[in-house]
Each structure stands twice: as structure tokens, then as C-alpha cells.
């Protein structure tokens, strides 16, 4: 529990929620990252520009945090302490699964989680419980396997 950071977490969550409200109120769109990305991969989509700019905005926003003095030194993208080669394999496998699963299931943490739960959608509630449950199970199994 020594890593518990409820204030930053709550503040960040409020910003994410604010972004979702702006997207819905102004543009009538769900601020779901996988949905926004998926629309760009469909050839006939006429509205690529705003999707690309939203995704670019994510990078700018995260960069802004660092520029404003936010602490990014603790970011660790190898939490299971895999070896170099295993980590590369896991990153590629993880990316493929996350991409495939979010398109197949029509949403991710933002679309189903933040926006879907906010709309009281039954589909999003089931999806959110399912992906959180699966992820927790996978983490527990890896912990067993690595002896962590």
C-alpha cells in the first residue's frame, strides 16, 4: 500500500471524465480510445482528422504533464522484471491482444469503462467486469510463474 496515490488518481480521473463530457456534449462522440482508433482503420471513414488529432492530443497531454514538472521517473514498463527478450515478446503479444480484443469487443477501459458505465450500459458493465477480471487473473498467474 506504500504506493497508494489517491489524490493524483482522483484528479486524473476527473480530467478523463471532463474530456469524455466535452466529446459527448460538443461532438456527440464517445471518448473511447479503441473506438476512435478503430474508425481510422476503416477505409471509408470520412472523419479521420479529428480522430488523429484526439490521439495526438493524448501524447501532447502526457508530455505536458512532464513539462509542467510532473514525476515521470517512476514509470516502469517492465513491472514483472522479464528478461530483455521475454519483455519484447510480451510487449508485442500484449499489444496484439489489446488491439484485437478491444476491436472485437467494441471498446476498452475508456469506451466501456468510463463512458459505458456513465451511460449505465449493460453491455459495457459486462465487458468492464470481464476485462478487469481477466487481467487480474493473468497478473496472478504471471506472479505465480515468476515467483513474485
Amino acid at each position: 500500500m506504500e504506493n497508494f496515490t489517491p489524490i493524483g488518481a482522483l484528479l486524473g480521473g476527473l480530467l478523463i471524465g471532463l474530456s469524455a463530457v466535452i466529446m459527448l456534449a460538443v461532438m456527440g462522440r464517445i471518448a473511447g480510445i479503441s473506438g476512435i482508433l478503430g474508425g481510422m482503420l476503416t477505409l471509408k471513414t470520412p472523419d479521420r482528422a479529428w480522430r488523429l488529432l484526439f490521439l495526438f492530443g493524448l501524447i501532447v497531454g502526457a508530455g505536458l504533464f512532464a513539462v509542467l514538472g510532473g514525476n515521470v521517473s517512476e514509470i516502469n514498463i517492465n513491472p514483472f522484471e522479464f528478461s530483455e527478450s521475454t519483455q519484447t515478446i510480451m510487449l508485442v503479444l500484449g499489444g496484439l491482444l489489446v488491439g484485437f480484443g478491444t476491436q472485437m469487443g467494441s471498446g476498452c477501459t475508456s469506451g466501456h469503462g468510463v463512458c459505458g458505465l456513465g451511460r449505465f450500459s449493460r453491455r459495457s458493465l459486462v465487458a468492464t467486469v470481464t476485462f478487469f477480471g481477466t487481467a487480474a487473473l493473468v497478473v496472478a498467474v504471471i506472479r505465480l510463474g515468476t515467483g513474485g
Binding site: I16, I30, L37, G95, C108, V114, G118, V126, F131
Partner: protein, 149 residues
């Protein structure tokens, strides 16, 4: 033009939120998912703060005749559960569990210029593309443009 500007600003606010909350740190995300280990409940506050905001506001916004920039709200109306929803959520959950990265934080983290993050995002885009191809090959009708999220 206005839509593009609004999308950029919303993206910046979203990305800032992901960074402030710690979602851009896979170790932090794994700490939350690690319920049987040294559990860090912080990310429940991220979801809590975000969902309370959307739950309190969406219901009023969706009663408007339409969004401020015109047109109609593009919000999914489906209520049925199917294997694609469940299977997709399981596959996504597995990928999230081994990496600690979901799509938003993965894109946002490109700001920190780690080549390994770029590798993850490329794999994410490839996986997304494969899923789209799969949908096209199994069904004669194109997939709906508006997903759940």
C-alpha cells in the same frame, strides 16, 4: 475545423489525466490488478472520478436535441450480450494483464519517447487491424461505424 480543435483539446485533457492519475505507468496498473499481491487501490480512484463525472453529466447531455456542433449523438443503443463482446473483453483483459497497458495510456506514453512503447503501439494497431479484417471476412455487412466506445 471546430470539431478538430475540440478533439485536440479533449485529447490533451484526456492525456493529461492519464499522466496525472498514473495510468501511464504500467507498474502502477499492474499494482492495481495484482489483487492477490501487494495491492495498490489507486486506480479505483481514477475509474471512480471519471465514471462519477460521466454518470452525473451524460444523462443530462443526452437529453439535449443534439451535440453543440450539430448532428446527432453517436451513442450505441445495443443492449444484448454476445460472444464477440465477451470474447473481445477476455482477449483485451489478457493483453492488459501481461503488459499493464490499455489503448489510451499506450498512445499517451509515446510522449516519453521509449522505443519499446512504440513497439507496443505498433502491435496494438496491427491487432486492431486484424480484428477489423476478421469482422469483414465473416460477415457480408460492414461493421457498425460506432462501436460501444
Amino acid at each position: 475545423m471546430m470539431a478538430q480543435l475540440v478533439a485536440l483539446i479533449s485529447g490533451i485533457i484526456f492525456g493529461l489525466g492519464l499522466a496525472v492519475s498514473g495510468m501511464v505507468n504500467p507498474a502502477k496498473v499492474i499494482g492495481f490488478l495484482d489483487v492477490t499481491g501487494d495491492w495498490d487501490p489507486s486506480l479505483a480512484f481514477v475509474m471512480g472520478g471519471a465514471v462519477v463525472t460521466t454518470a452525473l453529466t451524460f444523462r443530462f447531455v443526452l437529453k439535449w436535441p443534439g451535440p453543440l456542433l450539430g448532428g446527432a449523438f453517436q451513442v450505441p443503443s445495443r443492449q444484448d450480450l454476445d460472444m464477440r463482446l465477451l470474447g473481445g473483453a477476455v482477449i483485451f483483459g489478457a493483453g492488459w494483464g501481461i503488459s499493464g497497458l490499455c489503448p489510451g495510456p499506450a498512445f499517451a506514453s509515446l510522449a516519453y519517447l521509449d522505443p519499446k512503447m512504440a513497439l507496443f503501439v505498433l502491435a496494438l494497431i496491427a491487432g486492431s487491424y486484424l480484428a477489423r479484417l476478421n469482422i469483414f471476412s465473416r460477415s457480408s455487412t460492414p461493421p457498425p461505424v460506432t462501436a460501444d466506445g
